[in-house]
C-alpha cells in the first residue's frame, strides 16, 4: 500500500515536472501559460533560431522549396520550375507528399519555428486558417504591383486567393485552377438507335443536358444494370470533401447555400426548402449510379467512367486529360447543368501561399517565382504540362486554347460559374459535420430535411464557438 502510494506520487511529480518544462509553446501567450523553454530532454541544441542549418546560410540558399501533394500536376510544376532555374539560376524543388497525408503534414509543419517549405500549395478552404493564424504572407500589395491582376480570372482570384471573401486582401496566388464538370459517352449519345428510343420515351431529342432535370432523364434512360450500364456517377466520397463538392453545386442551383457569407447565419439557408430538394434530388440521381456509388471519390468516379460502364461522370477537369487518353473519341464534355437561371460549379484547384515562418530573403525569392509563373511566359509553359490549368483570362479566351483539347471550351466556360465552400478557419469542423449529416441522408438513415436541420444547428454552434456568428 505504501509502495503504491509512493509510486503514484513519484509518477505525479515526474509528470508535472516534465509537463511544465517539456511542452514547447510556439508564441508568447496572453493567458497564464508555463514558461516556454527548450524541451526537457538533456542535450538539446541551444537556442538555434532556425532548425536544421544556421539561419544565415538558409536565407542565402538559391532555392525555392514548394510543397504540394503527390500527383501529376506536381510533376508539371517541377518541369516549369526547371525552366525557371534555367532563366534565373534559382533552383525550384517541388516536394510531393502523398494525398492522404498532405493536409496533416502541412499543418504539423506550420507548428514548428520554421517551416521546411517556402511555398505551400493549399486548398482554397485553408485560406482563412492560414491568414488568421499568421502562416500565410499577406500578398495584397505585392500581388497588385508585380502581377497583372486583371489577367487573372476574377472568380479564381476571389475564391483561391482572397480572404475574407470580397475584402480585397490576398493571401495566395493562383496555381492550379480547377472546376467540376461532366464527361459523357459521346458515342452513346450519338448512336441513332439510342436517339430514337430516347425521343420516343421522353418526347425530346437526345442532347447534352442543360438543366438538372434533363440530366436526370438521361441518367434514367441510360441506366441498365442488367447490361452493367449505369446512368451517372457523382462525387460522393466521404474521406475528405468529395461529397461536399458534389452536393453543393446542386444545392446552389436549387437556391440553397451553406449560409449567409456576411452575417454567418445558417438557418434559412442550409435548411431551406431548396437545399432539402437538392439533397433529395441528389439521392434520386444516385439511384441511377453503379452499386456502391454513394461513396465514390474522384478516383472511383474516374474508374466507373473509364471502365466503359457509365454514361455521365461528374469530376474535376484535372482528370480529363487522362480520360481522353483512355476513352479517346468516345468521350465528350459538358459544364454543370442549371436549375432555372442558376448554374454553379464547385471550385477546385489550389493556390501558392508563402509561409511567414521563413527568412525575408526566402520570401522574396518565392515571390519572384510566383510572379514569373503568373506571367504570360510562365502560363504558356504551365498549360503545356499535362495537368496544368490556367486562370489567365487572355489565354482562356484565345482560339488556340479552345482547340487545344476537347475539354478546354467547357473548362473556360465553367470558370464563370465558380463558387466555394466556407474558407474560414473553422472550415475543418464545418466540413466534417457536413459530410457526416449529408451522408446520413444519402444512406437513407434520415430524411434530407432532418439531416439539414441537424446540420444547421451544428454549423451554427461551430460558427458561434469560432466567434463568427453573434
Amino acid at each position: 500500500m505504501k509502495r503504491q502510494a509512493a509510486r503514484c506520487v513519484g509518477l505525479l511529480v515526474l509528470l508535472v515536472a516534465v509537463g511544465v518544462f517539456g511542452c514547447k509553446k510556439e508564441a508568447p501567450a496572453p493567458a497564464p501559460t508555463p514558461p516556454s523553454e527548450p524541451a526537457a530532454a538533456p542535450a538539446g541544441p541551444e537556442a538555434a533560431p532556425v532548425e536544421g542549418s544556421p539561419g544565415k546560410a538558409l536565407a542565402e540558399e538559391q532555392e525555392v522549396i514548394i510543397w504540394w501533394a503527390q500527383w501529376d500536376p506536381s510533376d508539371g510544376l517541377q518541369n516549369v520550375g526547371n525552366e525557371f532555374e534555367k532563366r534565373t539560376g534559382i533552383a525550384v524543388h517541388v516536394h510531393q507528399i502523398p494525398w492522404p497525408s498532405y493536409q496533416d503534414q502541412v499543418t504539423m509543419n506550420f507548428g514548428g519555428k520554421q517551416t521546411n517549405f517556402d511555398i505551400v500549395i493549399g486548398d482554397s478552404q485553408w485560406l482563412g486558417w492560414g491568414a488568421t493564424k499568421e502562416f500565410y504572407v499577406d500578398l495584397t500589395n505585392w500581388l497588385k504591383e508585380n502581377v497583372d491582376v486583371s489577367a487573372i480570372h476574377p472568380l479564381s482570384l476571389r475564391y483561391l486567393c482572397e480572404y475574407p471573401t470580397g475584402s480585397g486582401n490576398y493571401f495566395a496566388a493562383p496555381c492550379e485552377i480547377d472546376a467540376t464538370g461532366f464527361t459523357y459517352r459521346k458515342d452513346w449519345f450519338e448512336d441513332p438507335e439510342e436517339q430514337a428510343a430516347f425521343a420516343a420515351e421522353y418526347g425530346r431529342p437526345l442532347t447534352i443536358p442543360d438543366t438538372w432535370e434533363e440530366l436526370r432523364d438521361l441518367a434514367e434512360f441510360f441506366n441498365r444494370p442488367d447490361e452493367k450500364r449505369y446512368g451517372c456517377v457523382l462525387l460522393t466520397g466521404r474521406g475528405y470533401d468529395s461529397l461536399i463538392m458534389g452536393f453543393q453545386q446542386i444545392m446552389w442551383a436549387y437556391g440553397g447555400d451553406w449560409g449567409n457569407r456576411e452575417t454567418y447565419e445558417v438557418d434559412g439557408y442550409l435548411n431551406s426548402a431548396g437545399s432539402a430538394e437538392a439533397l433529395a434530388f441528389m439521392k434520386e440521381l444516385l439511384g441511377f449510379a453503379p452499386p456502391g456509388a454513394t461513396n465514390f471519390d474522384w478516383s472511383k468516379c474516374l474508374e466507373a467512367f473509364n471502365n466503359g460502364s457509365t454514361a455521365m461522370q461528374m469530376n474535376y477537369f484535372t482528370f480529363y486529360p487522362s480520360i481522353c487518353r483512355v476513352m479517346g473519341d468516345k468521350v465528350g464534355f459538358f459544364i454543370m447543368p442549371r436549375k432555372g437561371e442558376r448554374r454553379f460549379a464547385s471550385l477546385g484547384g489550389q493556390g501558392f501561399s508563402i509561409s511567414k515562418k521563413i527568412p525575408e530573403a526566402r520570401q522574396e525569392r518565392a515571390k519572384k517565382f510566383i510572379a514569373w509563373f503568373l506571367s504570360e511566359e510562365g502560363q504558356q509553359l504551365w498549360i503545356r504540362q499535362e495537368a496544368g490549368f490556367t486562370s489567365n483570362v487572355a489565354l482562356l479566351k484565345s482560339e488556340a486554347f479552345k482547340v487545344a483539347t476537347p475539354y478546354n471550351p467547357a473548362f473556360a466556360e465553367s470558370l464563370d460559374h465558380l463558387k466555394d465552400f466556407w474558407n474560414i478557419p473553422v472550415y475543418g469542423e464545418l466540413m466534417t459535420t457536413a459530410v457526416k449529416r449529408i451522408a446520413e441522408a444519402i444512406d437513407g438513415e434520415c430524411s434530407p430535411q432532418e439531416a439539414l436541420d441537424t446540420l444547421t444547428a451544428e454549423h451554427e454552434a461551430i460558427l458561434r464557438d469560432g466567434g463568427f456568428l453573434k
Partner: protein, 292 residues
Amino acid sequence: MGKSRFLKYGFVAPVLVVLIALNVFPLCYNVVLGFSNAELSGGPWQFVGARNYARIFSQPQYVAAIRLTAVFVFCAVTAELLLGFALAMGLRGRFPARPVVLTILLVPMMLSPAVMGLYWHMILNGHYGVLNQVIALAHLPQPQWLTDPSLKLASILLIDIWMWTPFMMLIALAGLNAIPQYVYEAAAIDRARPWTVFRRITLPMCAPLLVLAVLLRTTDALKQFDLVMAITGANDSATQTLSALLYQTTFRTYKVGLGAAYACVVLVVVIALASVFVRYIDHIQQRQGKQA
C-alpha cells in the same frame, strides 16, 4: 554482492532507459494538452480545465465510438484466437511441406494494413469488385460491403481477422511446440483420452502464451486505424472507432487538445484492460510453479 546487483541491472537498464526517454514526453504532452485548447498547428493556447473531458463524456459520438470499438475488439480477438489456435493444433507435428504451408499462412500478416485497406477496397467494391462478382455467379444477392451501414463494420472485421489470425496461430504453435514430448508419453501410458489430454495438459500449458497473445492483439486492435481509414474513412458513423475519432479530432478539426484528452481516455481504458490480463497471466504462471 555489488557485482551481481550491477549485473542484473545491466541486463534490464538499457531498455528501461530508452523507453523512458522516448515515452515520457509524449505521455506528458497528451496529459497536459488534454487540459488545454491547443491546436495542431501550434500557436498560443490556454488551460481550460476539464472542459475537454466534459465534452467527451457528454457527446453521443464518444459513447458510440466506445461501443463500436468494444464490439470490434471483442469479435476480432475472439475469432482470431479460436481460428488461430485451431490452425495451430492442425499444424503441429511433422508433415511434408510444413514450412511452405506455414509461410503461406503467415503472408496476410506480413502485408501493410494501410496498403491492404486500399487493396481490399478494390475487392469489396460493389461496382467491379471480384467478391461480388463471384457471389453473383452463385445467384445470391450482392451485399454492398462498403456502403451498407450494417455491413461496413463486418467488412473491416473480416479483413482484420484475415490479417491477424496468423499472429495467433504462430504464437499458439510456438506454445504447443514447447510442451515436452514426455508429458504426452506419460499421458499415453496412463491411457488418457484425447479430450482429457487436451483439457488437462495442452490447454493449460500454453495458456500463458495464449493469454499474452490475446493481450497483445487486444491492445493492437484497440488502436486499429489504418483499415478503418482505408475502407470507410475516419468520418463514418458506422465505423468510427476510438482511433478514428481521435484522428478526426486531431487532424481534421485541428483540436489537438480535445484529441489529447481522447488519447488519455483510451490510455486509461487500455491500462485497465491490460491489468486484468496481466494479473491473469501471473495467476496462471504461479499455478504452474514458474514463479519463485
